[in-house]
């Protein structure tokens, strides 16, 4: 057992976990942040994506201990109170989700994609960048639309800040 100290969604926590515990299980089982999902166990599907120090990572592919001292943001931590993150709103407005299982990972990956590409996003880039997130419901059509829509919204909201 080890104590892992990290900041999750802005709150400092210290969690005692078995050394073999994966970050996703620390979040789900110890902190009850069940929005982060496990879909494949092999780093392929991206249902577990969270932000670690601002970058998208697959939380099923790192040990909780590796996140010691890090700043983790999960799907539960991106809205400002009742105000949805622009990516969340874009997924809703463009019908970018159906069963919702891949959605948290999709949104977390998509935010990272927009951050990395800024205003340079186009459809081929979004499709290529989403290669690590699998959805079985939507055929990706509306997810791609949502990400492109949110890229515009995020530029606007950054400009406003």
């Amino acid at each position: 057992m080890s104590t892992v100290k990290l900041t999750v969604n802005g709150k400092a926590v210290a969690v005692d976990v078995e050394d073999r515990t994966l970050l996703v299980h620390l979040l789900r089982d110890h902190l009850n942040l069940t929005g982060t999902h496990v879909g494949c166990d092999t780093s392929q599907c991206g249902a577990c994506v969270v932000h670690l120090d601002g970058k998208a990572v697959k939380s099923c592919t790192m040990l909780a201990g590796q996140a010691d001292g890090a700043n983790v943001t999960t799907i539960e931590g991106i809205a400002k109170g009742d105000e949805l993150h622009p990516m969340q709103a874009a997924f809703r407005d463009n019908h970018g989700l159906q069963c919702g299982y891949c959605t948290p990972g999709m949104i977390m990956s998509a935010i990272d994609i927009v951050h990395r590409h800024g205003g340079q996003l186009d459809e081929p880039t979004v499709r290529q960048e989403l290669e690590g997130n699998i959805c079985r419901c939507t055929g990706y059509h509306n997810i791609v639309k949502a990400v492109l829509d949110a890229a515009g919204r995020m530029k606007v909201s950054q400009a406003a800040e």
């Binding site: 789900r28 496990v38 392929q44 159906q98 299982y101 979004v126 989403l130 055929g139 059509h141 509306n142």
Partner: protein
């Protein structure tokens, strides 16, 4: 249409919880004192279980129990059932071997459970499973159908000699032979419909909780049809009587058919929770999903189509071998028979059809209904045949289809189905216009000048949805009625709860079902909530599959709404001192037609519950229910056209355009309908280009993770170009046909027709990987 009524593109009410991480899936639920189950699964495709030694595991800390298949037998827990009886052509019933939830004696596919470890945590259960020693005696195994039906092949079940479950026929053999004898041309085709793994993104999971004082079980499970699960668990598996078993299917992360069936794991969890006296949770991992979720498709077919001198189809002969895997799953028997062969007429006037289907056992994961279920296999076969015929007869493939389209309705096919309505020319027109079919030749020439092989492929599909009426499916062997139920509960303040037996696991019922209420009453959808997925709340229901929830489930809601409105009108008329026949419902008010007298709906509801001033003899309250059994299947149909380029140097396929023109009858929410089509198309394209569940000759699965099974990803797919044509379904009052599976049914043939058009060779099996396409291009 109001802003939230039928036909409005309303954003989904359910989305807020999903986009904020507040969805509640089975694995998100924790119960006090909960234990965790880990199944010990066979590494062999076929073996005798000689001995299970769990002594070391039982000494490990945190281990509660190790339970085996023999204990299931000792406790008289029933075997898994197949709920649709099929009769072979010789009049004998289908031949099935027993499927115990954990194998006491013989395992017949890799991944079949033999024992389960129950421990205080998932990790402890997994650790302990490593210490359980299972002594197997390996037996010869057979994984492919062609080998399984040969003399001398390893035999799976003594009940099914030759590994044959049934040899079933449909249609008129004599009339079909006569048509072929007179044919001007005969087109022959061999096709394999590749095996798919469903892979809903949420792995299956179950939590079972036994209350010893009440002798009552609660099961949280990833189910598309919790009431059917309760019925089967109760009536056949001897778990508990129905009133002592509550089944809850909360948010479910995709189903596609794979979560219809009752699997061993939830059954064992229920049984184990009573044995250990604590709640038991099992959450599958992805490899367990590959090993144990019922697979789809896996047909091998030879077909011949006869044409007269005018290119009119005169007959169709089909022989199909259908792989069932090692056991007969819940609805497996119906898939290659009544869900497949009954659609072999496609969109065409075919006077004579004869089809024979041989069901085969192999040492592989069981196969059952998946995303289209039989209809993709039928549509793929017919549309590949039409394309092959067009090439052989040297006519335009679109024109050959038009020559043979059914244009008069109703139309009785020679294979049971009576198509009620449709306009196949209209959908083909729409698709051809959308893709500029006329301009294709010029585009192909242009691509050729750049070293690319461009092709175009048409697919005109029809499907049968709703899977009803009950009397019809009962006569064909179904073990259950396939109606739907609904209840409308109006609260005293005028808010409304709709209880439905349909289950939403991505389809958006929490929005679309509210839209019907908004349409009828003029109340905002925020005043309406949809209750589903809990056998304690909803009395009964058949669940969601076969694209049936709108056509059947929503119609049941309509029927209950009509009853409720009828009573509400009486109350309103009484309050307004008017005649019941003069009351109209507008914008949330009950009005006396042609006057300014009105009473708001919440006041009607309140009057129903205060009961201070009701018509004489009327019961208080405002709550009505309905059971709805349709009069026929529904027949969604459409035309898909795919244009693509193949790189002859690599065999890689790139999409240029994919157009879909569907006729789903009335659309409740076009945004949601489009989403359903997008997902289906991705599945159809995935099957055509990428997906294949593969076993080696010894029955070892080669594709048991996302590392080796190719799931369609965003960069494998194009954006889609959708349109709709409309003929209203006459079989239900809303005119709805269903849209959930169309894409998966129609898309594969369009893709393969386009690739074979591009490369100029007709024989190409799915999945058309670059390697396979390159070899086909360069084959002698």
């Amino acid at each position: 249409m109001g802003v939230e009524g039928i036909g409005a593109r309303v954003v989904r009410k359910e989305d807020k919880r999903f986009i904020t991480g507040k969805g509640r899936y089975v694995d998100d639920i924790k119960l006090l004192g909960m234990t965790h189950a880990h199944f010990i699964r066979s590494p062999h495709a076929h073996a005798k279980v000689k001995k299970i030694d769990s002594s070391a595991a039982l000494k490990m800390p945190g281990v509660v129990a190790v339970l085996t298949g023999q204990e299931l037998v000792d406790d008289k827990v029933g075997n898994l059932i197949c709920g649709w009886a099929i009769t072979s052509k010789d009049g004998t019933p289908m031949k099935m071997g027993a499927w115990p939830a954990m194998a006491p004696e013989t395992v017949r596919f890799v991944g079949q459970a033999v024992a389960v470890v129950i421990a205080d945590s998932k990790n402890l259960a997994r650790d302990a499973a490593e210490s359980v020693v299972v002594d197997y005696e390996e037996l010869p195994a057979v994984a492919d159908m062609q080998s399984a039906i040969k003399a001398g092949a390893p035999q799976l079940h003594p009940e099914a000699p030759g590994n044959q479950v049934y040899d079933w026929v449909i249609g008129d053999e004599g009339a079909t032979d006569a048509a072929f004898a007179k044919a001007a041309n005969v087109v022959k085709l061999d096709v394999t419909n590749n095996r798919l793994a469903p892979n809903a993104m949420e792995p299956r999971a179950a939590i079972a909780d036994y209350d010893a004082a009440e002798e009552h079980f609660t099961l949280y499970t990833t189910s598309q049809n919790p009431h059917v699960a309760r019925l089967v668990l109760s009536a056949f598996y001897n778990i508990a009587p129905e009133h002592k078993l509550r089944v809850i299917a909360p948010d479910v992360g995709g189903g596609f058919g794979s979560k219809i069936f009752i699997y061993p794991e939830e059954m064992v969890a229920l049984w184990a929770s009573k044995k250990v006296g604590r709640p038991v949770k099992w959450t599958g991992d992805r490899t367990e999903a590959f090993l144990t979720d019922a697979h789809g498709r896996d047909h091998v077919t030879h077909a011949e189509m006869a044409f007269d001198a005018n290119n009119k189809i005169t007959g169709l002969k089909v022989k199909t071998y259908a792989n069932f895997g090692a056991y007969m799953s819940l609805f497996s028997s119906s898939v290659p028979t009544y869900l497949y062969a009954t659609l072999l007429s496609g969109q065409y006037n075919i006077p004579a059809i004869h089809a024979e289907v041989v069901g085969v056992y192999t040492n592989t994961t069981p196969v059952d209904a998946y995303r289209g279920a039989g209809r993709p296999e039928a549509s793929y076969l017919i549309e590949r045949l039409m394309e092959t015929a067009a090439r052989q007869l040297k006519v335009d493939p679109a024109q050959l289809r038009r020559t043979n389209f059914i244009t008069q309705f109703p139309h009785q096919t020679p294979v049971i189905m009576a198509y009620d309505t449709g306009d196949f020319n209209a959908s083909l027109d729409a698709a051809m216009k959308a893709i500029d079919y006329a301009g294709f030749a010029a585009r192909k020439a242009q691509a050729k000048s750049q070293g690319k092989l461009r092709g175009i492929g048409v697919s005109c599909y029809i499907e049968a949805c709703g899977i009803a009426p009950s009397k019809a499916v009962g006569s064909l062997g179904a073990g259950v009625g396939l109606w739907e139920s609904a209840e409308v509960r109006v609260n005293p303040v005028g808010t409304i709860e709709i209880l439905t037996g349909s289950h939403s696991h991505g389809q958006g019922h929490e929005t679309t079902f509210c839209q019907l209420v908004a349409e009828r009453l003029g109340v905002p959808i925020s005043q309406v909530s949809i209750v589903h997925g809990d056998t304690d709340k909803v009395q009964f229901g058949m669940g969601t599959y076969g694209s049936r929830s709108a056509a059947v489930g929503l119609t049941a809601i309509l029927k209950a709404m009509e009853k409720m409105e009828s009573k509400a009108k009486k109350i309103a008329a009484h309050a307004l001192e008017a005649s019941e026949g003069d009351i109209v419902i507008e914008n949330g008010e009950f009005k006396v037609a042609g006057t300014d007298k009105a009473i708001a709906f919440p006041m009607v509801a309140l009057a129903a519950y205060t009961a201070h001033n009701l018509p004489d003899g009327m019961e208080p309250g405002l709550k009505e229910s309905a059971f709805y059994d349709p009069t026929n299947f529904t027949f969604p149909a459409g035309a898909y056209i795919c244009e693509l380029e193949v790189d002859p140097g690599t065999g890689k396929t790139s999409f240029v355009n994919f157009v879909a023109a569907d006729d789903f009858g009335r659309l409740i929410n076009p945004m949601i309908v489009e989403g359903q089509v997008h997902g289906g198309l991705a599945q159809g394209i995935g099957q055509a280009l990428l997906e294949h569940a593969i076993y080696d000759a010894n029955g070892q699965p080669v594709t048991a993770s996302f590392m080796d099974y190719s799931m369609p990803r965003a960069d494998d797919l194009p954006s889609f170009n959708l349109s709709h044509t409309t003929t209203l379904c006459p079989g239900n009052p809303l005119g709805i046909k269903g849209c959930g599976e169309a894409g998966a049914i129609g898309a594969s043939a369009a893709v393969i027709n386009a690739i074979t058009d591009a490369i100029g060779k007709n024989n190409l099996e799915m999945p058309a990987t670059p390697d396979r396409v390159w070899r086909t291009i360069h084959a002698a």
